[in-house]
Symmetry: C2
Subunit: 392 residues, 2 copies
């Protein structure tokens, strides 16, 4: 399905719209006492998120829910300027979380207007990772549009110095420590081994062959690239440390330009609390690189200005779920803030495991988390039906 | 004083900043247990609002408050593109309430960073009319930045069909009904008298002379213009129906381009419930005129999407004050929504009389309103100091 939001919600010079894709499943929806679960799409094709968010499908019947999956602008088929969307910073200018949230708000108004029975139903936002950040922020900024939000593995505090920049890699390291004796130590030693091996041509050749590299290593730059690639693999393995096999994998820096604008997440390693080579966070170098590559300068403090940083206690009805195995939990909300801003911890959980479909290998803790999430959502739905409602 | 916010908070292509003016008065400010009253400037020079918001000066000592008056972008000396700011829709593109609120948020962060002692103080937003709308919306969207808002005579519901389009002129009419026998009836009859008189050249000349017009009336278009001018005068008289003389007067359509974008307020008359000639609200004609004049198309439903329309009950700590004499009260919040979203009615009040300085001619009801406002603000300040605070 398609809806046509403005390309620019916050300016009036450009009055063009684009085709935003969304998916709907209504086989379990009931107009009497039902609800509408709204996935706030993140960076990727919405079909992919639809297929990897089995939790929504699993609870649809119990919540008499319609499911809506809304695609994020600039991803999948929702391209504001078609093939030109990524051409330059002029075309990429409208790729911000604020514009995406406005798309979602306008889409829900559209659904209420066009689907008979939808107008008087409670909408609940759900999302994982950056989609979870969007779900939480959506409830904060548009509480008149969604009655609550389930923000799974949403690192809303991975900004500025709200959490230490090293926390992410520290959790990755802990995961490997847990997974076997000397595991993290072996990885830690591997960097130095690579460095020593690749001091001369013989070593470079030997390592290229041993690792079956398509392109042989030639210099220090290539070696750094290899180490980065290996680091990323360890990170990804930690993120998707699910109790069963899955094809769920995404590269870490999934927001090429976006990370260069408002989503500036400081990361660092020191080689002491983690198993990586020391890399301090260097905002200046990061900023210079962004400007060189995209012609834009990051605004690292804007997200806190906009969404409140740690001061979010005046908001209500948001569940923050986090898996202890997930390195992103370091920037997440892992303690209750109020009795309607609640944290759910899944000790054996990786990156938003709770949003995935029920599986025979699921640990008990994720089953408990899911049932608690359903309990809160039912409460929001009950509150909605118990309160007097207005048209606007 | 000046601060340099981004011209565009919601896009990254344009990374220019502009000089935003603000005024500070701190003679009554106390770092221990004090507060900061922040006027969310509206359409006009901030010095003018500073001089016409005596209430803030009157309560500064009692609240140990610093006063800050922030100028709205595109007004006074806060021009994003200097003399070019109003040249065309490209330059006017950043004149929206969302950008103005973001300016205020960034300004407060700047003040906390640069004024020793300000970081750990509660900020309260205050404003009248459109400035009152901004104060209320600021608290709704940035509750982490201001602990509460006093929104005086803020017609936040004068949009779409949230209130009947005729309510404004009906209140103007009621004011004239109150002010003397046959007053509104005489005005109502005047339109027909003008119409009959000006059917021919003799009548046009006679009326031009009788009214001492600089340019004589020539045709029906001129006559309509005269009637519009007279109507506007009645409206302004109703708005500033203060108990004492004041030089406070502003033309009604104070947002030339802005009213053509997001601030689309439907007005109409029917000649039955009001003393004016019937003029239905015609969105299509309005939109066409905007496009002809500015090359932009209004988005009449956006403000409700963004700020919630009638569904604002999940927010907290906003006082909506309204004078019964003020025609803008028709689009205002005149009943309590929750026990922290409260309405204060001033039966003898005109357009945000409560924000003006104490005056010997003030009716008792406005004195009561002001003391109630102070009571709520003190409560917010107490709550702030009683709660644990975080850095971000």
């Amino acid at each position: 399905m398609g809806k046509h939001p403005w390309i620019d919600h916050f300016g009036f010079k450009n009055d063009k719209t684009f085709n935003q894709r969304y998916l709907i499943a209504d086989q379990h929806w009931r107009k009497e006492g039902g609800s509408i679960l709204f996935y706030t799409g993140n960076e990727g094709d919405i079909i992919w998120f639809c297929n990897n968010t089995g939790f929504m499908w699993d609870v649809a019947e119990e919540l008499k829910a319609m499911l809506v999956f809304a695609e994020h602008r600039y991803y999948g088929q929702s391209l504001p300027f078609g093939a030109d969307s990524f051409r330059d910073s002029r075309h990429l200018n409208f790729l911000t979380s604020e514009q995406a949230l406005a798309d979602f708000a306008e889409l829900i108004k559209h659904l209420k207007r066009t689907i008979p029975g939808a107008e008087n139903q409670p909408f609940i936002a759900l999302g994982g990772s950056y989609g979870g950040m969007l779900a939480a922020w959506f409830r904060m900024k548009y509480p008149h549009i969604v009655v609550g939000a389930l923000a799974a593995s949403a690192p809303i505090w991975q900004f500025e110095d709200i959490v230490p920049c090293g926390v992410f890699m520290k959790i990755v390291t802990t995961d490997f420590k847990r997974s076997g004796p000397n595991c993290s130590e072996s990885i830690q030693r591997s960097w130095d081994a690579i460095n020593r091996l690749t001091r001369n041509g013989t070593g470079l050749d030997w390592l290229s062959e041993a690792l079956h590299l398509c392109t042989p290593l030639k210099n220090a730059h290539d070696v750094q690239h290899l180490k980065d690639w290996i680091s990323e693999t360890w990170v990804n393995l930690a993120m998707v440390d699910y109790p069963y096999e899955s094809n769920f994998l995404q590269p870490l820096p999934a927001w090429p330009i976006k990370a260069c604008t408002e989503i500036v997440m400081p990361f660092c390693t020191n080689g002491i609390d983690d198993m990586f080579e020391p890399h301090p966070w260097d905002l200046k170098a990061f900023s210079d690189e962004c400007f060189k590559q995209w012609g834009v300068k990051p605004r690292p403090s804007w997200i806190s200005s906009m969404y409140g940083g740690k001061n979010i206690s005046s908001h209500t009805n948001i569940i923050f779920s986090n898996g202890d195995l997930d390195p992103w939990s370091g920037g997440g909300v892992t303690k209750n803030i109020t009795n309607t801003l609640v944290a759910i911890i899944i000790p054996e959980g990786a990156h938003h495991l709770d949003l995935r479909a029920n599986n025979a290998f699921d640990p008990m803790t994720v089953l408990l988390a899911r049932s608690l999430e359903v309990k809160y959502m039912k409460q929001w739905i009950r509150d909605f039906y118990a309160s007097p409602r207005k048209k606007h």
